[in-house]
């Protein structure tokens, strides 16, 4: 009754599944992912070429062993190194590299695993970096072109030290490339290829940094002073101009006014002269009468003689 449930075909499928599972476990079948490559060893000795195509593969179970390695582009980022430049500036240089295992067999034989590879890369790349940096000026490691010299938009507060303004032939890119070239040479023997090395960071060492800060501060202070004194100078200039123009305006006005007044006076005199010269005697007579009108007041004492004209006139009226 119980045994009849497991009929023949079910039994067969079951057995197949178990068999395949066992094959995997035993190591006859193995999967190679797109990201991996495999070296087969038999009793420690490599067999055949490394397997780089992805998919299902066969090997002898138990006797042969599959070693997996990365097929992808890998990264290496070393510890920053303190290196002096040719002009004795101490800087931290942090490089980063991209590399690949191109010959898994050689890799297995020479390094065995990525940990060893990383330490080997440390040696190779760090020494290449050190050689390159010590052989060049700081400017050459920082700048890439001479663009900064051409673009004199450095601004009016330019803080530029002399050394920064040196014309360079080897710039950052060329320097980096030389590190790459140097590093590439030693790589093939380990079954790897160093695809790229670049400078990730450059920073001053603590003491140098302090000095640079001081320089920056001093330069800025100098620029600030310059602005202030320019302000003083210009405003004094404007003030002077103001004073000068004021003087000009008022003196000019005065001159003109005087001229006008003078002209007026002269013309008036001429008018009077022309008029009165027609009969000077009569004029002086009128004038005398006017004088009486103007000078005699309540406090005056008038003395008339009997032969004065007035008396005569009065007499004549009667």
């Amino acid at each position: 009754m119980k045994g009849k449930i497991l009929n023949r075909s079910t039994r067969l499928i079951f057995a197949l599944v178990i068999f395949i599972a066992l094959a995997f476990v035993g190591g006859a079948l193995f999967i190679v992912d797109e990201t991996k490559q495999v070296v087969i060893t038999q009793f420690g000795k490599p067999v055949g070429n490394s397997i780089t195509s992805a998919g299902l593969h066969f090997k002898m179970p138990f006797i042969q062993e599959a070693h997996y390695f990365e097929k992808r582009l890998l990264g290496w980022d070393g510890e920053p190194n303190q290196i002096p430049t040719k002009d004795k500036k101490y800087i931290w240089v942090d490089t980063a590299a991209r590399w690949k295992i191109v010959d898994a067999l050689k890799f297995l034989q020479s390094m065995g695993n990525e940990l060893n590879a990383n330490s080997r890369l440390n040696d190779i790349i760090n020494s290449a970096t050190r050689d390159a940096v010590t052989g060049h000026l700081l400017v050459e490691a920082v700048r890439d072109s001479n663009r900064i010299l051409e673009s004199k938009e450095l601004g009016e507060d330019a803080i530029v030290s002399e050394e920064a303004l040196e014309r360079i032939d080897i710039g950052r890119q060329k320097l980096t490339r030389s590190i790459l070239e140097r590093s590439k040479v030693l790589a093939p023997q380990y079954g790897i290829e160093i695809m790229d090395v670049r400078i990730k960071r450059i920073n001053y060492v603590e003491e140098v940094r302090k000095k640079v800060y001081d320089r920056m501060i001093a330069e800025r202070k100098r620029a600030a002073e310059k602005y202030r004194s320019e302000g003083h100078g210009k405003s004094a200039e404007i003030e002077g101009q103001r004073g000068k123009e004021l003087k000009l305006i008022t003196s000019e006005a005065y001159r003109q006014a005087q001229a006008i007044v003078g002209k007026a006076d002269a013309e008036a005199i001429s008018i009077y002269g022309k008029a009165y010269s027609k009969d000077p005697e009569f004029y002086s007579f009128l004038k005398t009468l006017e004088t009486y009108k103007n000078t005699v007041d309540a406090n005056s004492t008038l003395i008339l003689t009997t032969d004065s004209d007035y008396y005569r006139y009065i007499k004549g009226i009667e």
Partner: protein
């Protein structure tokens, strides 16, 4: 043996027999349970879904087979086929210089130092920026590079520091920021394409760019000094603009006044000359009468003002007030 129950157990063999009996009843169920278990696992490995912003990368026994689009799909189970969903629409963001992100144990372990970099004029700036990117080729992303986030971060730092190293402090602080953004995006894309990462750099953007803390006050001082200069010059011009027009106005006024005087004086002169001429012609016509008239007019005006008036006869030798016209206000004789 049939009516065995636990009270009657006396030997170990009895226990084993009891156990066997109980198990044989379950045997049927166990096999069904195992089969059901496997079916469930299989189903779980067969049906999968891909989100609307994703694609699915299908590998069979590790080998790349195909891409699947969003929706519900089936695949072979039990590790035969593997699906990796990749977000191809999402815009990812990486931040730099924000401190503490990748402290790699520098000897000068201050986090803030990670954002410091050297400029082209060999000075130091504190630079923070972000990168936005998208996955444009999921196959490359999965199979060509390991740890894409590291690659993107490294390349971004490499590029930004190289660029900043070619510009001056002031350029990076102010006018060249957009240029640097643009160049950084182009260069990053080029390197990432060379590496075949399958990543598309959408933007690179500089955020805060500052002089290092220690130096900031000096930089601020420069800005203040610039403003001071402006202020001083403005004030000077203000004073100028107040004074000059006013002076010009005054100058105008002075001249107008002079002109007014001019007019006044000449008109007066003309008037008086005219009056004289008229009087003169009148006089010429009747000299005696005119003279008398004028004389009398004058004294008529003058005498009343005077309090003390005396008329003296010169033929008399002493002075006597013969006619006192003054006291009694007498104009009459």
């Amino acid at each position: 043996m049939e009516n065995m129950d636990w009270r009657n157990i006396s030997t170990p063999e009895d226990i084993i027999n009891l156990g066997k009996k109980k198990l044989s009843g379950f045997r049927k169920h166990i096999i069904w349970a195992i089969l059901a278990f496997f079916v469930l696992i299989g189903l779980k490995g067969v049906i999968y879904s891909i989100g609307p912003d994703e694609v699915g990368v299908i590998q069979r026994f590790g080998k790349y087979i195909r891409l699947t689009s969003p929706g519900l799909h089936t695949k072979l189970p039990f590790g035969i086929e593997k699906v990796t969903p990749i977000k191809v629409e999402k815009i990812f963001k990486e931040e730099f210089g924000m401190g503490g992100v990748q402290n790699r144990g520098y000897a000068y372990g201050n986090h803030a130092d990670e954002s410091l970099m050297l400029t082209g004029d060999l000075n130091i700036l504190d630079v923070r920026w972000i990168v936005q990117f998208k996955i444009k080729d999921p196959i490359k992303l999965l199979f060509v590079i390991r740890n894409p986030q590291n690659v993107i971060r490294d390349v971004s730092e490499i590029v930004m520091r190289r660029l900043v190293g070619d510009y001056s402090v002031d350029e990076v602080l102010t006018i060249k920021r957009e240029e640097i953004d643009r160049l950084a995006q182009v260069e990053m894309q080029k390197i990432l394409d060379d590496y075949q990462t399958g990543v598309q750099v959408i933007t690179v953007k500089l955020l805060d760019v500052n002089p290092p803390d220690k130096v900031k006050p000096a930089f601020n001082e420069v800005n203040e000094a610039k403003q001071e200069k402006e202020k001083m010059i403005n004030q000077a011009w203000e004073a100028y603009n107040k004074a000059i027009p006013k002076a010009k106005g005054e100058a105008e006024r002075t001249i107008r006044e002079a002109e007014g005087y001019n007019l006044d004086k000449i008109n007066r002169a003309k008037g008086e000359a005219e009056r004289f001429s008229v009087t003169l012609s009148e006089y010429k016509n009747a000299p005696e009468i005119t003279q008398k008239r004028l004389y009398l007019e004058t004294f008529n005006e003058v005498l009343p003002k005077v309090k003390e008036k005396y008329i003296i006869d010169p033929k008399q030798s002493s002075i006597l007030p013969l006619l006192d016209l003054g006291r009694k206000g007498g104009e009459k004789q």
